[in-house]
């Protein structure tokens, strides 16, 4: 290391010139007064009221200022949380239920509706009551009861004993 130090001696002498760069005369006489004035006016006042209401946030910001590594870790944790949020949001947590069952459970009028629908003319689709708990139906008359809902019709296949 000593050899390296010797190699850089000329550079160190040149860098010493930086120590001779001085601010305008009297600059430091007013410096602390300016800092004090800025603390009193506005800057400090705003932060103090802020710290009264959200002291934990002020502590957090101070910790970030003093330790950038902590800020990085915090940002990493937030990113991780975001990724988990996206992954879990894409997973369906409630199995889709048939629409008619929902309507039956929520409205007694809706329970009676399927029986009436068979004899209903196709031009009168609005007999099914729409409530805030039921999904909004398409007001155009459907060709079939299930067609508009996109429900797959599955034939019932009974197998009687002995057949």
């Amino acid at each position: 290391m000593n050899e390296n130090e010797n190699n850089f001696e000329s550079l160190r002498r040149l860098l010493a010139l930086k120590r001779h760069e001085t601010p305008p005369p009297g600059y430091f006489e007013n410096f602390s007064a300016e800092v004090r004035a800025r603390i009193r006016a506005g800057d400090a006042g705003r932060m103090e009221s802020f710290s009264e209401h959200l002291p934990w946030l002020v502590r957090l910001m101070s910790a970030f200022e003093a330790k950038p590594a902590f800020a990085g870790a915090f940002a990493g944790a937030l990113c991780l949380l975001l990724v988990f949020g996206i992954v879990f949001a894409e997973r369906p947590d409630v199995a889709p239920q048939p629409l008619l069952q929902t309507a039956q459970a929520s409205s007694p009028l809706a329970m009676a509706a399927p029986a009436n629908l068979n004899s209903m003319p196709a031009e009168q689709p609005a007999l099914i009551p729409i409530s805030s708990t039921n999904p909004v139906f398409n007001t155009q008359s459907p060709d079939s009861l299930f067609a508009s809902q996109g429900a797959a019709v599955q034939p019932v296949n009974f197998t009687l004993p002995g057949n």
Binding site: L11, L14, L17, F31, I39
Partner: protein
């Protein structure tokens, strides 16, 4: 006046800690007079560090004031794990590095004048080019080239050079301020000096 004389020992001032603790305690209670004393104690060193990092007096003035205001506001979070001096330096350095990253590629130098003592410094006299007819012009040219070379370094490499070769901090002190190990400081310093030597080859006489 010579700004920021090198600090020879690893601690800032041997008799300071007790009094400094009292000032810090007072400032934490909101005593502005106590904090004023702390500002006066460190204003030159903090300003000088920021100035040498930015090569701009106006930016250094704003950032130094902001660093002291920030430190006052954050005093409640100061646990005393390090000295107030190191903690304050860390705030100023982080603020400056953030500022420099934001203003990247928009560098504008606003250099302070070189004081009268420089012309009588034997090291400076030895460095002035023989071709330069007037000594003052030689120093000004050297100052500009030196600042340009410093600004070419990355923020972290520049910081190590400024703290060690200009401010005179020890490797251990710099490691505390930069929150890295001493080996990292040494390697950054070596690399930064090598780069500086390349940038300033025309102005450096072989030893």
């Amino acid at each position: 006046m010579i700004m920021a004389e090198p600090v020879p020992s690893s601690e800032p001032e041997p008799s300071a800690p007790v009094e400094e603790d009292e000032l810090v305690r007072g400032a934490r209670r909101g005593d502005l007079a106590a904090y004023d004393e702390l500002v006066k104690r460190y204003q030159q060193r903090i300003y000088a560090t920021i100035y040498h990092m930015t090569s701009n007096h106006e930016d250094a003035n704003d950032l130094a004031q902001e660093a002291f205001i920030k430190a006052f506001q954050a005093l409640k979070s100061f646990k005393g794990g390090s000295s107030f001096y190191t903690w304050l330096y860390r705030i100023a350095v982080n603020k400056t590095i953030n500022f420099l990253k934001q203003r990247k590629n928009r560098t504008h130098m606003s250099l302070n004048d070189i004081d009268f003592n420089a012309e009588h410094d034997p090291d400076m006299m030895a460095l002035i080019s023989e071709q330069t007819p007037r000594r003052a012009a030689g120093l000004t040219e050297l100052q500009e080239k030196l600042n340009e070379a410093l600004l070419k370094l990355s923020e972290h490499h520049r910081l190590v050079v400024v703290l060690h070769d200009v401010q005179g901090l020890s490797h251990e002190e710099i490691a505390k301020v930069m929150e890295c190990n001493v080996g990292t400081v040494r390697s950054r310093l070596f690399y930064a000096r090598q780069q500086m030597q390349g940038f300033l080859a025309d102005y450096l006489k072989p030893t």
